[in-house]
């Protein structure tokens, strides 16, 4: 079966206040060496990829040429989904045209919100005007499959801001929306800003905002297919689905993760090490992935849910554990599958813990 290919681009003009992903600000001159290292690594695999995902960091800091070289090194299936994340401030018409001609066919724009105060607070380099322009630039460059990131539960945020953001995205005719609840990560500037922290939505409010967002998205035709992902029919992100369906993917670049040959791997968060070695160093993080309880954990993130019969002789126990949750509206059992509702997604950790106990015991 074809694999997914993830390419991490660990460069940013500036780090955002909430971000703990691996990326370095102000290292753009390294991009060429980095490109060569990525290419060496791709050549190391004999796989055909039907999804490619440039994530970051800020992939839009790469030139169209670099993206083209990378894609040329890989064996890519004809109908492959090839995504790149871009930030509105670097999503110029030229950049988007170059990406399009390099082979990118799906663009994911880090819009986050259309509220300029919120953007400033997050340390984003763009304003709402640039965000709108980025979507339009992408459309003019010929992209139809456009996704936007939104953040939920920002400090001082009201539910109306979120629904307004969704309305504007719908109006701009994006096809996919990733709506993530803000999580304060240790060691980020946001985690040190007591004033902002005090005004972050508590669990009650962020739950309300999430549910409001889900129903608003639905109203505009974005159906939920994963905890944080919504799409017009046919525009689900095929690359991301591989993660949740326990399919194989290869990650290239520091902090990238892979799953193939029955193991999971991570690449150390060390850009120098990556650039200077022939083939990236990998650390095995899991020798036996995709066991029953892991598949359950992953599948329950998707609206399509988990097929109960996969639990084999634990099926009945699983059903019994799910029954009271169904009664409380946290999940539905449809055609032999357990599917979380939006309320269920909100407490999915707890649900997954409980259900996976049912398939582990005895």
């Amino acid at each position: 079966m074809n694999k997914g290919l993830y390419i991490h681009i660990p460069f940013c003009r500036r780090k955002c206040t909430y971000c703990d992903f691996y990326s370095l600000a102000g290292n753009e001159e390294l991009t060429e060496k980095y490109t060569q290292a990525v290419i060496r690594n791709i050549r190391n695999y004999n796989d055909t990829f039907d999804t490619v995902y440039f994530g970051g960091g800020t992939p839009s800091l790469m030139s169209g040429r670099q993206v083209y070289d990378i894609l040329s090194a890989a064996d890519i299936a004809d109908d492959a989904e090839i995504s790149a994340e871009v930030n509105p401030d670097s999503a110029t018409p030229e950049k988007l045209r170059d990406f399009k001609s390099a082979g990118i066919n799906r663009i994911s724009i880090g819009i986050q919100t259309f509220d300029d105060n919120e953007l400033k607070m997050l340390g984003r380099l763009h304003n709402s005007g640039q965000a709108v322009k980025a979507v339009k630039n992408a459309q003019r460059a010929g992209f139809e499959n456009i996704s936007a990131d939104l953040m939920l539960g920002l400090p001082y945020q009201k539910a109306e801001t979120v629904t307004e953001n969704i309305r504007r995205l719908a109006e701009l005719d994006v096809r996919h929306i990733s709506a993530y609840m803000l999580k304060v990560e240790e060691g980020t500037p946001l985690a040190l800003d007591e004033k902002l922290l005090e005004n972050i939505a508590d669990d009650e409010l962020s739950a309300d905002i999430y549910l409001e967002a889900v129903s608003c998205l639905d109203k505009y035709g974005f159906h939920q297919y994963e905890i944080s992902n919504f799409a017009k029919s046919g525009y689900e992100c095929r690359h991301n689905l591989k993660y949740w369906r326990c399919e194989d993917y290869i990650g290239i670049g520091p902090s990238a993760h892979s799953c193939y040959d029955g193991r999971r791997f991570a690449v150390p968060r060390d850009i120098d090490g990556f650039i200077h070695s022939d083939v990236q160093k990998v650390i095995v993080t899991d020798n036996a992935p995709c066991g029953l309880s892991e598949r359950l954990m992953l599948a329950l993130r998707l609206s399509e849910g988990f097929e109960i019969s996969q639990a084999g002789n634990h099926s009945e126990k699983l059903r019994a554990a799910a029954a009271p949750m169904e009664k409380h509206g946290l999940l539905k059992i449809n055609n032999g599958r357990i599917c979380l509702t939006a309320e269920g997604f909100l407490v999915s950790n707890e649900i997954i813990c409980r259900l996976s106990e049912a398939v582990e015991e005895g």
Binding site: Y180, S228, K242, G251, H257, C259, R264, P289, P324, H328
Partner: protein, 602 residues
């Protein structure tokens, strides 16, 4: 040993916690050169870690010292350390029975405390010569004259010339030893009479079996002799007989009238060697056992369960081992619908209970869930049958009860007179009946109350301390049963009774307690997937209600670049955390919740 009795002094030290008993004992050990200085550890006599940390003596211990007195003679001192806490009253009384005298240590600024007074009265009852000593004269707040006058007026013994010492600095400690020589009488036993020896302590040694500590009153005991323990009738052959050096036992082979020492006789179980029992010769027994022996009965009961059900066997082993050294600990298996398999354990009192719990957790590495402590209720059924209830779950149906009775204690409280009002309030809240009050001097009073034991087992002592800024001291003794309006209060989670949280309480206090328990549980039970109603009920009638709201948000929203391993680890950790929770029906209850409901005083 050929010391004749004239050169032997057997004595103990009576002191309130923190008044300096152990420090004085250390100084005495130094002065008698019993312990080379390099072997000195502070508070040598208190062996157990817990004793050191809490600064209390749990078990009586003894040591033999040689003292070269000013009169030019060498004396054998047997210093017997006594527990100071009310829970261990009986052991105190047995230790006292092994002595001719007692050194009463009183803090020069704080004066006499309730436990000191109780133990001093006990010493006087045993005809002991009491040698008062005023300690901590180095403190700026010391008032030795006032304290001496207090000792004279309260206890009625001459005290104006009591040694004023500082055990900490070593000041005047030698004077204490001279008083021991001069004031405390020597033992006057008959070495040729049949053996009569009092057991005042015992412990289990994994190589030698039970070691008993004895005071030989009459006769003698030597290796090879067959001895008989009179309460149990068990007979053993003496393997070792000797005395307690400061560091090790010294097998002298022989003990004679007036001496304090140990006997080892391959005794397998500490249950056979009851403190207070008399050891005699099997062939030539004494006519009567020494007076004062009684069985020690546990007063406070609580269910102890392993947090992890798989550790049930470990818990049983640990309790068995602890019981080897602590005959006062009782336990029997019980089952709780909520907590699974565990043990109903009986203790002398709350401190004893806490110590056992702490030892189980610390020395045996067990995580425990403990139910609310209960006393033993005496219930007479309409059928005429009388039952004793030590577990609230077994409380009979109210319709079948003719009379319910609860244990009462006589309590004595010593305090500065400023706090009389708040002490009376406290005792009244705890259903106490005032008996009398007397002034020890212008500033200190002694109050007597009759109190239900179940009102003091939870947190009475803490409450007393906090209302008197730590100045009051407290002592009690069991006085009997009295009829009472008792009810069983049940706690329901999500509609199901949690047996481990049930308890018996006086009807007038049920409502307030029920509300507090419900609030505490609400604070201690984390939000779950569903709303959890908490109810407290008597019979079928709910008298308090709270709700743990449903959890709203618990999600790892983002999962970037396919890092599934991290997500999996986080969830594994969350699952691991759940193992420390008790699954009660569909509700997960952390162990802390069981403890929290015990601590109800605000």
């Amino acid at each position: 040993m050929d010391h004749n009795q004239e050169n032997i002094r057997n004595f103990c030290i009576i002191a309130h916690i923190d008044h300096g008993k152990s420090t004085l004992a250390d100084r005495i050990l130094e002065l008698t050169s019993t312990v080379a200085l390099r072997d000195m550890e502070d508070q040598l006599l208190d062996n157990m870690d817990i004793e050191r940390e809490r600064g209390i003596t749990i078990k009586a211990r003894a040591v033999r010292l040689l003292y070269n007195a000013d009169d030019g003679k060498q004396y054998v001192f047997n210093l017997i350390d006594t527990p100071g806490h009310v829970d261990f009253n009986y052991e105190v009384s047995r230790s006292l029975a092994a002595c001719e005298g007692a050194v009463l240590v009183v803090d020069a600024s704080q004066g006499i405390e309730a436990q000191t007074l109780a133990n001093t009265y006990l010493a006087i009852e045993h005809d002991l010569e009491v040698v008062p000593v005023v300690n901590k004269i180095d403190l700026p707040s010391a008032e030795p004259e006032r304290v001496c006058a207090e000792v004279e007026s309260v206890i009625g013994i001459p005290a104006m010339d009591a040694p004023r010492i500082s055990a900490k600095l070593g000041t005047n400690v030698k004077e204490v030893l001279e008083r021991v020589v001069k004031d405390i009488p020597c033992p006057k036993g008959d070495p040729n009479a049949p053996l009569e020896a009092l057991i005042f302590d015992s412990y289990y040694d994994s190589y030698k079996g039970v070691i008993i500590y004895v005071r030989v009153v009459n006769g003698s005991v030597k290796i090879g002799q067959t001895i008989k323990l009179m309460a149990t009738g068990a007979e053993f052959t003496v393997v070792e007989a000797g005395y307690m050096g400061a560091v090790d036992l010294v097998n002298a082979g022989f003990l004679s009238a007036g001496e304090v020492g140990y006997i080892s006789a391959s005794i397998k179980s500490i249950g056979e060697t009851k403190v207070g029992d008399t050891v005699t010769d099997a062939e030539n027994p004494c006519a009567e056992p020494l007076p004062g022996y009684r069985e020690v009965n546990p007063m406070v009961f609580s269910g102890i369960y392993p947090a992890d059900g798989a550790k049930y066997g470990d818990l049983r082993d640990a309790l068995e081992k602890l019981q080897l050294n602590d005959a006062a600990l009782s336990f029997e298996p019980e089952t709780s619908a909520a907590l699974g398999f565990g043990f109903r354990c009986g203790f002398l009192g709350l401190l004893h209970m806490e110590i056992i719990q702490e030892r189980l957790e610390r020395e045996y590495n067990l995580d425990l869930v403990t139910t609310a402590p209960s006393v033993i209720y005496r219930v007479t059924l309409t059928s005429g049958e009388t039952v004793f209830i030590d577990n609230p779950s077994n409380y009979p149906d109210p319709a079948s009860i003719s009379v319910a009775e609860e244990p009462m204690v006589k309590a004595s409280i010593l305090s500065p007179s400023d706090y009389v009002g708040s002490i009376m309030d406290l005792c009244q809240e705890r259903r106490g009946v005032f008996k009398d009050m007397k002034y020890l001097d212008e500033t200190r009073v002694e109050l007597h109350y009759e109190l239900p034991l179940n009102e003091i087992v939870y947190d009475f002592f803490d409450a007393l301390k906090s209302r008197t800024r730590g100045y009051a001291s407290f002592d009690y003794e069991f006085m009997g049963y009295a009829p009472s309006k008792l009810v069983k209060l049940d706690v329901l989670l999500n509609g199901d009774v949690v047996d481990a949280l049930s308890f018996i309480i006086h009807a007038d206090k049920a409502y307030a307690r029920a509300r507090k328990i419900a609030e505490k549980l609400k604070d201690n039970i984390p939000r779950q997937l569903f709303e959890v109603p908490i109810q407290a009920a008597i019979g079928g009638k709910v008298i308090a209600r709270e709700t743990v709201k449903a959890m709203r948000k618990d999600v790892l929203a983002k999962c970037y670049g396919g890092d599934i391993t991290r997500k999996k680890k986080l969830l594994e950790k969350q699952k691991e955390g759940k193992k420390r929770m008790r699954q009660l029906g569909s509700v997960e209850v952390p162990q802390e919740a069981f403890m929290a409901v015990l601590k109800l005083d605000e």
